[in-house]
């Protein structure tokens, strides 16, 4: 299910009421994050906003959302991200930003209009390195970056110090590839297909790895045509088909997507079973079927026998009765009917 994020959250902000000069920490303020994007530079570029569905990176707070940009690789677009403070979850906010290819990006921290706080200092850092060139407008502090190499990615932190300290961390990273938690089950002699997808961002290339012990070995399908087949039809999806499975093919596999700014891997597990595994419960259930059918028929024979026995007894009784009536000399022309 796609989460539709809309940029109209700002309306909520108007509800925040804070007395000026209130020193204690504010009650849960509904703040919102606004993100505005402007295209700048070549007009022929198209900015498509996708809605990323993949899971965010580990250890991130609940106020994450993912923004992603699909762009024409040749011309970097200009994108702006702005976080409105104070944030929803306390004083620290984190954002994941996935970049499929090179961009020029502006990250900014802005203080809400109704929130008056004396700002002593705002710093921007990448890791431990302070970024010197900060653009300041009335309430916002931003930095402009050109992300074109892998080392440009990373965590950029904006720290706003005043009466309180607010922190926003932007994690710029390559798009993540999701693997599968549950293993793919297949059987000896069968073939299996492992699939990796990356819909929102199109990778430049895919590579598959298998694990041998602790090593990861790339799979070259042109070398082993009768064993591995890699489907490259759709650039957003990769299929690894493994034929003639044996126990040795059991284990972990990795699909790696290469993007302009770096690589990303997803893990899949393949589990190979022998046919004996489901055969045992199969035979158990079949045995149960045979037993139940036998019981049903035996029971029926038994109850039929009982019925017959009861009927025979009834007949015998009647014969006895007639005999005794006869021997008593009772005339029963009319009594010659048998009671059934």
């Amino acid at each position: 299910m796609t989460t539709t994020w809309d940029a109209n959250h700002t309306q909520e902000n108007a509800l925040t009421q804070l007395q000026p000069g209130l020193k204690s920490s504010p009650e849960p303020i509904t703040t919102s994050e606004t993100v505005s994007q402007t295209t700048w530079g070549s007009i022929s570029d198209h900015l498509t906003l996708g809605h990323d569905v993949s899971t965010p990176g580990p250890d991130l707070t609940t106020s994450d959302f993912n923004e992603d940009i699909n762009l024409n690789k040749s011309q970097p677009l200009y994108v702006e991200y702005e976080v409105l403070l104070p944030g929803k979850t306390g004083n620290s906010t984190e954002k994941n930003i996935f970049l499929g290819s090179a961009v020029k990006i502006e990250l900014s921290c802005r203080l809400a209009d109704n929130y008056s706080m004396k700002i002593l200092r705002v710093t921007w850092k990448k890791g431990n390195e302070t970024i010197k060139h900060i653009n300041k407008t009335e309430n916002s502090w931003s930095i402009q970056l050109t992300i074109s190499e892998n080392w440009n990615l990373g965590s950029y932190t904006c720290t706003m110090k005043g009466e309180e300290e607010f922190r926003v961390v932007f994690h710029l990273q390559v798009p993540q590839i999701e693997g599968r938690e549950k293993p793919v089950i297949s059987y000896e002699g069968d073939s299996a297909i492992l699939i990796c997808k990356s819909h929102s961002y199109t990778p430049i290339a895919w590579t598959w790895y298998m694990t041998n012990g602790s090593e990861q070995i790339a799979i070259n399908d042109s070398l082993m045509l009768d064993k591995y087949v890699i489907d490259k039809a759709d650039p957003n999806v990769t299929h690894l088909k493994i034929l003639k499975l044996t126990k040795e093919d059991d284990g972990a596999y990795w699909c790696e997507a290469a993007f302009e700014l770096g690589r990303s891997k997803g893990k899949l597990k393949l589990s190979i079973l022998s046919l004996m595994v489901p055969l045992k419960p199969f035979l158990a259930i079949v045995a149960e079927v045979v037993i139940l059918i036998t019981i049903a028929f035996v029971f029926e024979l038994y109850s039929k026998k009982k019925e017959k026995h009861a009927e025979d007894e009834k007949e015998l009784d009647q014969i006895e009765q007639l005999k005794s009536e006869d021997s008593n000399g009772v005339e029963n022309t009319s009594a010659r009917h048998r009671k059934v």
């Binding site: 089950i185 297949s186 069968d190 297909i193 699939i195 489901p278 055969l279 158990a284 149960e288 139940l292």
Partner: protein, 428 residues
């Protein structure tokens, strides 16, 4: 001698057997659908092509209806149901070893479906025989098996798939399907005294051919073509609709489970309500199908999880109520003696509705962007079918306890309807 008006004690075992078969047939169908989903492109086929395997099974099940009734009329229900159970199990067994999609069509689609056809109709016929005065109740209880087993399979099949993959799951489903033979073993033949011994040679075809010229029966069958066209839409598209209004997978599953429970309860309740000797099955049927149609029309209004669940509950209950009444109401149209053949033939006609209904709804959705129109169309189909039931001559007559109707209006047509109290069907 077994009296007609009293229910032999074994009748409850027959209901049990019918409960089991309903569970395994419709549960098996559901499980098949889930296993197909897990194929995961194994045969290089698109999801659409794979879905046709399920449709092939449904088609076999319903188109084979007349075959099931004809064979069980001639040979009795028990051997035919057991044979059908064996075929169904074999279908799944062969499917587990499929190396191509076409193998699946033939095995799990055609063969298993055929097996189910040989199981379903004769079982209902057997239940009818043992409960001539309380058919609807017994049928409702039996058909509730489909809901119970279907519900249990919901969490079970994904577990099976995660442990054994789709091949292993099909193998185990084969073993489970063989239990249909157990259900068949329970269907002891019953001698119904007011039936003449089997005439030689009986030509069961005659019974089927007669029905094809029977106006009211054709209207009844057509009514259910329409009903089926709408009936399955929520079952097939329910999860998608739930997600359309914002439910996640978990909540969508919950909506479907709740609907299934309501469905099962509806089957039993409707059967009980109609069990009174003076109940007119057709009028009950009309009422429940109208309600189901209305529920379908209202379904698009459910745009929150709570609203959708409430409406789905209403739909499920009413839809379940239709089931026992559909199969027993036909006795009011063609008489108790031809019940078995009628059910079989009706199933065959229904396949048109059931096979086209859900894809049509899907097409409407693709055309309009969401499922609102699909559900409205489904509701319309159901109401149209209900109106057809209204046109049946038996609708306005007071029924007698044995399922035939007292004639309020003396006319020759009704005589024709009562004819088959001396049926062609032998001991069943």
């Amino acid at each position: 001698m077994v009296g007609v008006s009293s229910t032999p004690r074994w009748g409850w075992a027959v209901v049990g057997g019918a409960f089991l078969q309903a569970g395994l047939v419709f549960g098996g169908l559901r499980a098949l659908g889930l296993c197909l989903g897990a194929l995961g492109g194994s045969f290089g086929a698109q999801a659409g092509a794979v879905a046709w395997v399920g449709s092939a099974a449904i088609a076999s099940l319903q188109l084979g209806g007349p075959l099931g009734s004809a064979l069980s009329t001639r040979y009795g229900a028990r051997p035919i149901v057991m044979a059908g159970g064996f075929l169904a199990g074999m279908g799944f067994l062969l499917g587990a070893f499929a190396t191509r999609l076409s193998h699946l069509y033939l095995s799990v689609g055609l063969l298993a479906g055929l097996g189910w056809a040989l199981v379903f109709t004769p079982s209902l016929g057997a239940v009818s025989r043992y409960f001539p005065t309380r058919r609807a109740m017994a049928t409702g209880l039996a058909m509730a098996g489909a809901s119970v087993v279907g519900l249990a399979l919901g969490p079970l099949i994904p577990l099976l798939l995660d442990t054994y993959g789709w091949r292993g799951s099909l193998l185990l489903l084969a073993a489970l399907s063989f239990n249909l033979m157990v259900a068949g073993a329970l269907l002891r033949p019953l001698d119904v005294p007011n039936e003449s011994p089997r005439p030689l040679p009986p030509h069961s075809q005659a019974g089927l051919c007669e029905l094809l010229r029977h106006g009211p029966f054709l209207r009844y069958a057509l009514a259910f073509v329409l009903v089926d066209a709408g009936y399955y839409v929520p079952h097939v598209h329910g999860p998608a609709r739930a997600q359309e209004v914002g439910c996640d997978e978990h909540h969508a599953g919950l909506v479907m489970a709740v609907t299934a429970v309501a469905d099962g309860i509806g089957r039993v309740v409707a059967g009980l309500l109609a069990a009174r000797p003076t109940a007119s099955l057709l009028r009950h049927l009309f009422a429940w199908s109208v309600l189901t149609g209305l529920a379908l029309l209202l379904l698009p209004l459910g745009t929150t999880f709570g609203g959708l669940t409430a409406l789905a509950l209403a739909y499920g209950f009413c839809a379940g109520a239709i089931v026992p009444l559909q199969f027993t109401g036909v006795a009011e149209v063609v008489g108790a003696g031809r019940l078995l053949h009628a059910i079989g033939l009706m199933q065959m006609f229904e396949s048109i509705g059931s096979l086209l209904g859900a894809p049509f709804a899907g097409w409407l959705r693709d055309l309009t962007g969401d499922f609102k129109v699909s559900f409205l169309a489904a509701g319309a189909f159901l109401l149209a079918g209900s109106l057809l039931i209204l046109t049946l001559p038996s609708f306005f007559r007071t029924p007698r306890s044995d399922g035939s109707a007292v004639e309020g209006v003396p006319d020759s047509v009704s005589k024709g309807l009562e004819l088959p109290s001396v049926p062609l069907s032998p001991s069943n």
